[in-house]
Symmetry: C2
Subunit: 287 residues, 2 copies
């Protein structure tokens, strides 16, 4: 009886958990969907490349048939380039990403700004290209019922991956556009260090389109991309941040996105089991 | 004749260059002083450990005899600890650092806050310990004619090295104390990514006690500590930042602090030669 109650309680607690596909980087999409379904996970966050190689419609059908939702599609963006024709090509590619998001059944396209163009030191210029890029997508996004979620990445990625590095900066950008089309991602890994993150989350309010969690562990590996840890393994006060996000009224999925080679080496079912138990312990009670 | 003019011009341009001892990590202090003197470098930034192993007075005499100045002593700080007795021990150690700074002939002691205590996720608490630590040092610093320079480190060091991660945050802390005792370091490597760094440098104004330069290069190495590049090798717009610092009236040394294993492997004279030529090209014209 206790076991049944606990099982029901866990199912409820998992109702908003989404596992980002990159967390299970070694699993195929069918494998990920099957282990998520079996584990009671409610949603998945998808990436463009595997979705496109399977076919957008087929990926959408597979998720729906398993009774899951798609919480977001990763990712558009990467706007800065020195050559105007290249910038235009990237905007066209972002329009395809918008269509893919709609096609796969999510209203959230995550945008990672992109880093400095090769050899450039003009951060202000790069940031201006990001603003222009988002502006060029707003109508297309609205027409497809997709919202653009600007993600601030940790400042250690500023040069080579994302010139948008704080939640305030993402909001300064997003607020230049209607709230029903442009919002932000709050990814705990990227913003936890910010002395003003609590105020920024309050400011973000209904602009928060995605809340992502993992943990900050040290030492960082070479390249710093795949050093993320399971929730509870690191320095981030996930309880506090989750409460701050909830206080804004956020009721969308909580997406677990962990880039970690040790986790990628696990069988998908074990990986998803670890994610759900870590999520239930360190995030769900406050989500 | 042109050669003589250029030589005089370079000497003038080097008048404010200081080479931090960590940049020449493989050189002994006597070696560093000799190559700096020979190259026309005006000052050195010293570290506590090598100064103490040589003896504070002897280190001071060696620098002075070579006609050099000491721009700063690295470093005090590392305040957060869960145990009150341990925090008190660290404050005592910082008092020794103040005395060593005075003894070695500099009025600037660089403070690196310290990371989260082991197992702690309480960033606010850790930051409070830093504030309390600085407060406990102000009288001792003033009595020794030493100014405490709070350094914001890049947010990628927040967990394990320095919970002070933006210049604004360093200023919020410093401004709780008199400007003649507590100021800040502006280290280009640590703050270049910040969308508001220009405003923060203006705000810092006369609180800037040290301006440090190197460059941001990618990919970052494992552990991310020794991935700094020579000025001009990376993404930082050093001209712009140097102009911003100069606009505050800053006229102290410009200290080159590069943690880089390839540079450490060079003979000290070649390393210092590279530093001076990079400084003359990428920093000095705007300093």
């Amino acid at each position: 009886m206790t076991g049944q109650l606990e099982a029901r309680s866990a199912t409820t607690a998992l109702a908003r958990l989404s596992i980002n596909q990159a967390t299970a980087n070694s699993a195929s999409l069918p494998q990920l969907i099957e282990v998520c379904r079996a584990a009671g996970v409610s949603a998945v966050g998808l990436w463009r490349e595997p979705v496109r190689s399977m076919g957008v419609q087929q990926a959408a059908a597979m998720v729906t048939d398993a009774g899951l939702r798609v919480s977001s599609l990763c990712r558009g963006g990467f706007f800065p380039a020195l050559d105007a024709a290249e910038r235009a090509r990237r905007i066209e590619d972002n329009k395809r990403a918008i269509e893919e998001a709609a096609g796969v059944g999510t209203d959230v396209l995550v945008l990672v700004a992109g880093g400095l163009p090769d050899g450039s030191r003009d951060l202000g210029g790069g940031r201006g290209m990001v603003l222009a890029g988002v502006a060029a997508l707003v109508d297309h996004a609205r027409a497809h019922g997709v919202r653009l979620a600007v993600e601030a990445l940790h400042p250690m990625f500023c040069a080579d991956r994302c010139v948008v590095v704080t939640l305030d900066q993402a909001l300064d950008l997003a607020e230049q556009f209607p709230a029903d089309v442009v919002g932000v991602v709050v990814d705990a890994y990227h913003v936890w260090w910010d002395p003003n993150v609590g105020e920024q989350i309050r400011r973000a309010g209904p602009r928060i389109l995605s809340y992502q969690v993992c943990d900050w562990t040290t030492p960082l590996p070479a390249g710093v991309l795949v050093g993320r840890g399971m929730m509870g393994a690191g320095a981030i006060d996930l309880r506090r941040m989750t409460e701050q996000v909830r206080a804004t009224g956020y009721d969308r999925e909580v997406e677990v996105e962990i880039f970690n080679e040790e986790l990628w080496a696990l069988p998908p079912s074990e990986l998803v089991g670890r994610v759900t138990s870590s999520y239930l312990r360190h995030v769900a009670p406050w989500a």
